[in-house]
Symmetry: D2
Subunit: 315 residues, 4 copies
C-alpha cells in the first residue's frame, strides 16, 4: 500500500528501506534534501492518493507536535496519521483530538528494534481504534519481524496505549541493561574468572539469561574486551524517567528500574554533591580523612585528615 513517511533519520530511513523491500509505495519527507523524496509536507500530501496514511518518525516532543499540527493543515478528512516516534503517551490524546477536528484519524505506535530493525523487523505496540489498526495492517506486517504476528505486534489499547507500552518497554530495558552491566562488573572485579567475555558468550545459548541484549554485549566485548575504550557516561532519552513518574502516579514500586535510571544520572556527574556532603559529615564527626577537590592547577586532590592514630570507631 501507499504511505507517507516523515523523518528519514536512523530509524525512518531504515523503515523506508524495509517497507519498500516489502513492496510498499513509500514517499518520504525529511528536511535534508539528500534523503527526501519530496520538498515539503504540502508536496508530500499532494503526492499521496487520498485517503492518505502518513507515518511520523521524528524526535518526540515539540518536533512531533509541530509536525502533527502541520499535518492537520495539509491533510484532509479521512486521512490517517501514525506517530511512530517515542512520544510521551500523554501527547497522544491531544494530538488525536487536534487531528480529529479535521476528520483525520490517529494511531500511536511504539517501535522497538533500533538500527537492527531494518533487517530483523521491529516490535510494534499500537494504540488507537480497531478500524485504523486494520487499515494499516499491511504496513505493520511489513515492519514487524517474520513469524507469528502476535510475537512482534500488539494492538495494546486505545489512543496512547502504544506509546505507554513502549515507555514501559524502555523502562524494562533500563533494568535489563543494568543487570547485565552489574554482572559484567562483578565478573571483572573478581580475579577468579580469567576470561569474562568468554563467560558472557557462553550465556548466549541454553542459559536462563540468554537474550538479544546479551548478544549485543558479547558483540561489544569482541572489539574491546574490558570496554576500556568507552567512557562510563550514559545518556537517557527520557522514557525511563517517564516510567518512574508513571509508577509514582500509580503507587507501583519499581526499585530496579529506578536504580537503573539513577545509575545513569550518577554516571554523568563529575562530582556528586551528595557524596561531598557524606564526605563532609564523616570529616565532621569522625575526623575521617577526606580528599580535597582537584585544584585549578590540575594537581590531584590530596588526602587530608587529622593526624592519624589508632582507634577511629565511626563508619
Amino acid at each position: 500500500m501507499q504511505i507517507g513517511l516523515i523523518g528519514l533519520g536512523r530509524m525512518g530511513g531504515n523503515m523506508r528501506d524495509r517497507l519498500r523491500a516489502a513492496g510498499h509505495d513509500v514517499i518520504g519527507y525529511d528536511p535534508r534534501p539528500e534523503v527526501t523524496d519530496v520538498d515539503s509536507l504540502t508536496a508530500l500530501a499532494a503526492a499521496l492518493t487520498a485517503p492518505r496514511v502518513v507515518w511520523v518518525m521524528v524526535p518526540s516532543g515539540e518536533a512531533t507536535r509541530s509536525t502533527i499540527r502541520a499535518l492537520a493543515d495539509v491533510l484532509e478528512d479521512g486521512d490517517l496519521v501514525i506517530d511512530g516516534g517515542n512520544s510521551r503517551y500523554t501527547d497522544d490524546r491531544p494530538n488525536a483530538a487536534l487531528l480529529g477536528e479535521h476528520g483525520i484519524g490517529f494511531l500511536d505506535v511504539g517501535v522497538s528494534g533500533g538500527v537492527w530493525g531494518k533487517e530483523n523487523g521491529y516490535g510494534l505496540m499500537v494504540g488507537g481504534s480497531r478500524e485504523n489498526v486494520e487499515r494499516t495492517m499491511p504496513i505493520f506486517d511489513a515492519l514487524r519481524p517474520e513469524g507469528p504476528r502476535e510475537e512482534g505486534f500488539a494492538h495494546a489499547g486505545p489512543v496512547g496505549a502504544g506509546h505507554f507500552a513502549k515507555m514501559v518497554h524502555n523502562g524494562v530495558e533500563y533494568g535489563l541493561m543494568q543487570a547485565y552491566a552489574e554482572g559484567f562488573e562483578l565478573l571483572s572485579a573478581a580475579e577468579l574468572v580469567t576470561n569474562v567475555p568468554a563467560v558472557l558468550q557462553a550465556w548466549s545459548r541454553g542459559t536462563v539469561v540468554r537474550s538479544w541484549l546479551l548478544d549485543l554485549l558479547v558483540l561489544a566485548l569482541q572489539d574491546d574486551p574490558t570496554l576500556a575504550k568507552l567512557d562510563d557516561y550514559v545518556e537517557d532519552s527520557g522514557e525511563g524517567r517517564w516510567t518512574i513518574e508513571e509508577a509514582i502516579t500509580h503507587a507501583v514500586p519499581l526499585p530496579v528500574i529506578a536504580a537503573a535510571l539513577f545509575a545513569r544520572f550518577e554516571s554523568r556527574q563529575d562530582s556528586s554533591p551528595a557524596m561531598r556532603a557524606v564526605a563532609a559529615l564523616r570529616q565532621q564527626f569522625g575526623g575521617h580523612a577526606v580528599k580535597h577537590a582537584v585544584g585549578p592547577s590540575g594537581t590531584p586532590g590530596d588526602i587530608a585528615g587529622p593526624s592519624s592514630g589508632t582507634g577511629s570507631t565511626q563508619g
Copy 2:
C-alpha cells in the same frame, strides 16, 4: 565416553537422558531405588572403568561436600570429579584439595537451563585445569546446546571460576526477572493498556527486550493472564545472596541485583517490622492515622488516628 552421574533429580535425571541420547555411557546413582542404576557409590566406582569421570549433581552445601568426601574414599588416583551443582565457589578449592590428596582431579561446572535444558541443552561455565576440561569435553559437548561451542560453554578460569560465573549468572537473572516483573506490574496498574499479555508477547521478536525469560513470562500469562492464581511469595536459592556478598567484598555497586534480592525478602514477609516502625513514627510526629494489626478474631485492622481535621503537614 563413560561417566558416572550422582544425583538423578530434576536436573540430574534430565542430564542422564540427554547424555545417553548423545551416545554416552552413563551410570547413574541416586539414593532412590526407582531411579538409580547402581546401589551405592562403591558400586558406582566398581561399575566405572578407570580412569573414571564422576559428575556430582546434588544440592549444594553439605550434600555436595559429603558426596565429595565419600568419593575421595571410593575413587582413586587418576580419576576426575565434576561438581555440576550450585555449590558456592568458595567450596571448590577445599573440595579440589581434598580430592587432590588422593590424586583425583576436580572441575566445577555452573550449569544453567533449568528443566528446559534436557531439550535445549545447558549453558556451561567450567573452572579447573585445561587438561581436565579437555578430558571431559565430549560430555560438555553433549550437554551444551547445539551451535558454536563458545555460545554455550566457557572455560572460565581455574578451580572455582565455574561456580563463580554461575553465581553471577544467577545474580543477573534476579535483576532481569525483576525488571520484567516491574514492567508487568506497571502495565497492569495503568488502565490504558487493555491487553497486557498481548503487549508482552509482542515484545518477543524484534524488540530490544526480547529474551528467553520474556518467552517464559508470555507462556505463564497464557494460562493465567493476571497471574491471579499465584501467591506473590518468592523464594531464593542463595546465589543472589552470594552475589551481593561478593560485590561487597569487591566494593562493586550492584543496586539492581540487590533491589531484586530485597524484593524477594519482602515478598515473604507477612508483616514488615520496618514498615511498622515507619507507621509508628508517622503516628508519633503527625498524629497520622495508622492501621492496627489484625486481631486474633481475624477482623481486619481498623484505621485509628486522632480526630481528623484539616491541615496535617507531615509526610
Copy 3:
C-alpha cells in the same frame, strides 16, 4: 500583630494557640462551627483591619487553590496571603499571580514539626519577597522554636522556594525514617540483641545517629516493644513522590529517598503483581515450587511444584 488563620485542624488549631500565647491577635476560620471564630471568609475579611495578613492552613491541592481564589475576592489591594499548607511548589506561582492581579501579596511557607510544634515551635521555610517576609516576621518569630532565628527559620528564596524546601525536607524525612526502620528490623531479626528498645534508647545521646525521629521511635517502643500492635501499612502524603519527580527533572540520583518511597508503596499491597511474575518465571524455568493464592474459602495457599528430587540448579 493581627492575623487571620484559615483551617483549624490539627496543625492550624495548634498554631492559633501558639500565636495567641505569644500575644498575637488571631482570628480563625474553619467550616466547623465548634472551632471557628467567624462564620465565613467574608466575615473574616471584615473582622481584620487592612492591610490584612491571612494564613491559609488547609489541605494542599484543590482545597488550598479554592481558598486562594475565594480570598482573591474578599481581600483587597495591600493585603497578604500566606500559604502554610503542604502545597506542591508548582502551585505557588499561579496562586501568587492570581492574588497579584488584585494587588494582594503572597508568601509560601513550609511548616515542619507536626503535633509537637505547638509546644516546641515549628521549623519554617519561606518563599517570597523580602518585603513580605519582613512584614510577617513577628508571626514567624512566634511560630518558630526558641533560640536563634536562623535555626528554625529561613527565607529560602522567591515564591515557591518555601514549599520546595519543605518538599525536600519531607523527602529527606522518608529516608531517615526508613533508615531507622531498617535498623530496627535487623536488630529484631537477629536474636543476639535481647533488648532492642533499650539499644535504640541508648542511641538517644552521644551517638552519631541521635535525632528527634529516634526519640519518637523510642517513645513508640515504650508502649509496644515489638510494634506488634501496628499494621505495616504506610501511607504517603505526596511530598515524597514530588521529591522523586523533581529529582528526575533535574537528573539528580536519589536512591535512598526513592527506596523509602517504594517501601511504602509495597507496604500497601496485599499481593504484589511483580512478585507474582517473578514466582511465575521461577516456576517456568526451574520447576520451582510456588505458592498458590489463597482461595475464596480462606484456606491458606498450598505449596505446589513438580515432584521434588535432588538437584535443582536455578535461582
Copy 4:
C-alpha cells in the same frame, strides 16, 4: 576505679582524658612513646592492681585479635578485658572463649560519638554477662553522656550483642547521611532555593528532620557553602558492609542502607565498568552516541556516534 586502656589514638586518647576528668585512674598503653603511660603490655599488667580491667581501643580485625591474644598471656584469672573498638561481632565469641580459658572475663562495647565524645560523652552498647557489666559500670557512667543512664547506655545482650548493635547503628548512620546528602543535592540542583545552607540550618530546630548529623552538615556548610572544596570520594570502614551481609543472612530487606553503601562504592570509581557496559549496549542497539574514554594525552573524550539524524527510538 582503676582501668588500663590500650590504644591512645583519636578515640582512645579522648577517652583517657574523659575518664581522668571523671576521677578514674587510667593507665594507658600505646606503641607511640609520646602518648603512652607504660612501655609494654607487660608493664601495663604490672602497673594495674588485680583484679584488673583493661579496655582495648585499637583498630578492629587483626590488631584487636592480636592484642586480645597478648592480654591472655599477661593477664590472669579474675581480670576483665573490654573490646571497645569496632570489631565485627563475630570476633567476640572467639575472643571471649580465648580469654575464658585463662579465667579472664570479656565485654564487647560499641562506642559511638566520634571526636565529639570527649566533650559530649559516648553512646555505649554493651555485650556480656550482667556481672561483668556491673563491675565496669563506673567506667561506663563516666564515658556516657550526662543524663539518664538508659539514654546513652544499654546492656544489649550476651557477648557479641554490643558490637552487633554498633554495627547496626553504623548501618543506620549510612542511611541517615545519604538521606541528608540527597536532600542537599536536590536543593542545590534546583535554582529556586537561593540559600541552601540557610534552609538546612532552619531545619535545626522544630522540624521532623532535626538531628545531630544535620547540625554537623550545617557546620560544614558554614565554611564551604557548596562543599566545593571537597572531593566526592567516600570511604567506608566496613560496618555498613557487615550490616548488609547480616541482613542477607537473616533475609531482612535493607534497601536504604544498601543504597547508601553502594553510593559510597560508586563514589570511589573513576570509571564504572557497569556503566561502560550500558553505554556499549546503547551504542550497539541504537547507534547512540557514546563518549570515548580520555586518551593518555589527557584530551577529553569526544562524543562518537553514527551520523545523526531524526528519529532514534531507543532508550
